[in-house]
């Protein structure tokens, strides 16, 4: 019975699971799903659930997505719901926002958030500010999604992280998932949210598989926007991160554990509204805080967290100054070793932890 239930719930994922586990009598409840497939599942389920949801962006339909995220969706839903746009970001973003104003629920894909800079007037002035400046008359239910931040070898114009830029704006929600469960649950919440949501994926994470719990395979699985997750418990230092850099923090934590240093790794999941409560609670326990991000240091996500810690109850618990580990303050270089050194590496996180703990 449990066997049948798991097949029915996990659908196509059950087949490879069955093949792998043919010697066991029961299926495992969890399955391995890549972040890419988790995003696609979220899109598929929400398209099915609500007629008003539709996708638009470059190459989302026939090409099956520049990064294959939307593979199969056009074949299933057709031209009306999966729309290929010309390469005209400001135009199609404006059109999407207008459609949202008239009651549809568009999901706009940017081939990379670097291209969203062309559309930023519509994201901010037409979408983010409208509910407020209309005195509550005009909601804009829209999701802007796509890969953000570093990607291997793409160099300066294609590797910027926009978490701080969009996180700055009242009226937007900004989400930055790390795992497959994050991606699925948060994207579903974003699509169901009546506010404009910027959904920052990351190309490095697309092919990474994660175990998805049985619960997360349900079509109503939602992760609330605005709540962080403790990926690893620890007592000595709090590491706060988001997106692909969470992987680095987990790796650094494993290295530090060998020296008896236990890191608590917090996966922010949402940039705005930020879950300061989770960070405060952790800091009150560990007394040490380090933020780790891929974006630039000046006016970044880490800078905001550190400022809020100073302003809140956590400050008096700190035994050392809270610090940030960030990407280097330069346009992303191309050469591999330069690129590697531009992002926070395991050794940078380890160094920062040991310095903070004075060991």
């Amino acid at each position: 019975m449990a066997y049948l239930r798991s097949i029915l719930r996990s659908g196509k994922n059950a087949v490879p699971a069955v093949l792998r586990r043919e010697f066991h009598r029961t299926l495992p409840a969890a399955v391995q799903v890549t972040v890419r497939d988790a995003i696609k599942e979220a899109l598929d389920e929400e398209l099915e659930r609500d007629e008003r949801v539709f996708l638009l962006g470059e190459e989302v339909a026939l090409f099956e997505g520049a990064y294959k995220v939307t593979r199969g969706l056009w074949k299933k839903y057709g031209d009306k719901r999966i729309i290929d746009t010309p390469i005209t970001e400001i135009g199609f973003t404006g059109i999407a926002v207008g459609a949202a104003m008239a009651g549809l629920r568009p999901v706009v894909e940017y081939m990379s958030f670097n291209f969203s800079m062309q559309s930023v007037d519509h994201i901010i002035n037409s979408a983010a500010k409208t509910y407020y400046m209309s005195g509550g008359l005009q909601p804009v239910s829209i999701v802007f999604r796509g890969p953000n931040g570093a990607a291997p070898g793409v160099a300066a114009q294609h590797a910027q992280c926009f978490a701080a830029w969009y996180g700055h704006v009242p009226g937007l929600k900004v989400v930055s998932p790390w795992s497959a469960e994050d991606a699925k649950g948060l994207l579903k919440s974003a699509i169901r949210d009546d506010n404009p949501v910027v959904f920052l994926e990351n190309e490095i994470m697309y092919s990474v598989p994660f175990e998805m719990s049985e619960e997360s395979q349900s079509k109503d699985f939602l992760i609330p926007i605005g709540k962080a997750k403790i990926e690893r418990k620890g007592n000595h230092v709090t590491l706060v991160s988001h997106s692909h850099v969470v992987s680095r923090c987990m790796d650094a934590a494993a290295v530090l554990a060998k020296d008896g240093i236990e890191c608590e790794v917090i996966n922010l999941r949402t940039i705005r509204p930020m879950d300061m409560e989770a960070i405060e609670t952790s800091v009150m326990k560990t007394k040490h805080l380090i933020t780790v991000e891929g974006g630039w240091p000046q006016f970044g996500v880490g800078g905001e967290i550190l400022a809020r810690i100073m302003e809140g109850p956590g400050f008096s618990y700190l035994n050392a100054p809270a610090v940030r580990v960030t990407g280097v303050d330069i346009p992303m270089p191309y050469a591999k070793h330069l690129e590697e050194n531009t992002l926070p590496q395991i050794k940078d996180i380890v160094f920062s932890v040991k310095k903070t703990l004075n060991v």
Partner: protein, 327 residues
């Protein structure tokens, strides 16, 4: 007595210039007495409301940006007469007239302009950010409203309700890149969108000849059929809008209208409006082409209303505006 008035009359209206169209709107328009009185009242209300806003701005009760519409009344009233309230409309910042035709009351417009809680947007929007049902403002960023309007049209088509979107912009905005991006997508996807360029000859202080390599705005949509017409004649605007609406509703895709019109005020209340144009020019338009006078003359010379009746409307309108401006 009222029974002596002509119930309706037919008027010749100017032929439109056509682009990629075999035929244009009809050369005659039928106006009933009721319609005439309604257009007159609405245009007069719009006129007096804008003049009152001018006063309040000079008294510093209205602050920031205030872009007045007087002179252009025939555009807003004529367009609304050619569509239904169930259709959609979006414009830029010279929006008070449209807020009125789209269902806003003078009182809530004035309250919004003066930052009161009873304002359309609870005082949080101001002059450029007023919304009503199926009216999406009021937009402050030049040109941004055009792709937004095409998006509304996309929703109309998607939801299959036979509604369309009127998407307005000025001669200044007409050079914006995002408008050309919008023409492309609206045409590709056959969106039910009427693009309307209100050409009042000046983008802020820059005349059309100094801003555009081609001032044939009705042709700038290239593959989109277009018409150019007299925006000071409310009947001309109405007939062209009906023609354009029919085009959209029959599934042919977008169409473009250029309304040749004029604003008496400067670009906004901080612009006296005479450093880039002459007072003589303004005066000439006022005396020869005023939209309200044109309608009034038509109705009086065809015995569709009396001088007293129209004066009564003027008095009622003035009172309505005065009351709305009491705080």
């Amino acid at each position: 007595t009222y029974a002596d008035f002509t119930p309706q009359a037919t008027f010749d209206i100017k032929k439109c210039d056509l682009h990629k169209l075999e035929e244009g709107p009809p050369l005659q328009a039928v106006l009933t007495r009721e319609e005439g009185l309604q257009y007159y009242r609405t245009m007069q209300t719009m006129r007096r409301m804008e003049l009152k806003a001018d006063q309040l701005y000079k008294q510093k009760i209205i602050r920031g940006f205030c872009h007045l519409y007087d002179g252009q009344e025939a555009c807003a009233v004529g367009i609304e007469a050619g569509i239904n309230l169930s259709d959609h409309l979006i414009t830029a910042y010279r929006a008070h007239g449209y807020t009125l035709t789209r269902g806003g009351t003078v009182r809530e417009i004035m309250a919004e302009l003066t930052g009161r809680r009873g304002g359309i947007a609870k005082g949080k929007g101001g002059s450029m950010h007023m919304y009503t049902k199926h009216f999406y403002g009021g937009n402050g960023i030049v040109g941004a409203q055009v792709p937004l309007g095409a998006g509304v049209a996309l929703a109309c088509k998607y939801l299959g309700k036979n509604e369309l979107c009127v998407c307005l912009y000025g001669d200044g905005a007409a050079n914006q890149g995002q408008i050309f991006e919008t023409y492309n997508m609206a045409s590709l996807w056959k969106l039910p969108c009427i693009f309307i360029c209100e050409n009042n000859k000046y983008g802020m202080g820059t005349s059309v000849e100094r801003a555009a390599a081609s001032t044939d705005y009705y042709k700038r949509g290239d593959f989109i059929p277009g018409l150019r017409l007299d925006g000071m004649d409310v009947l001309c605007v109405r007939e062209a809008t009906k023609f354009a609406a029919e085009h959209c509703r029959s599934g042919k895709g977008p169409i473009l209208m250029e309304l040749q019109t004029y604003r008496y005020h400067g670009h906004s209340m901080s612009d006296p409006g005479v450093s880039y144009r002459t007072r003589e020019e303004i005066q000439e338009v006022r005396s020869k082409s005023d939209p309200i006078s044109m309608l009034k003359d038509r109705m009086l010379s065809n015995n569709m209303a009396s001088v007293e009746e129209l004066k009564e409307i003027d008095v009622e309108v003035r009172k309505e505006i005065e009351d709305a401006a009491q705080f």
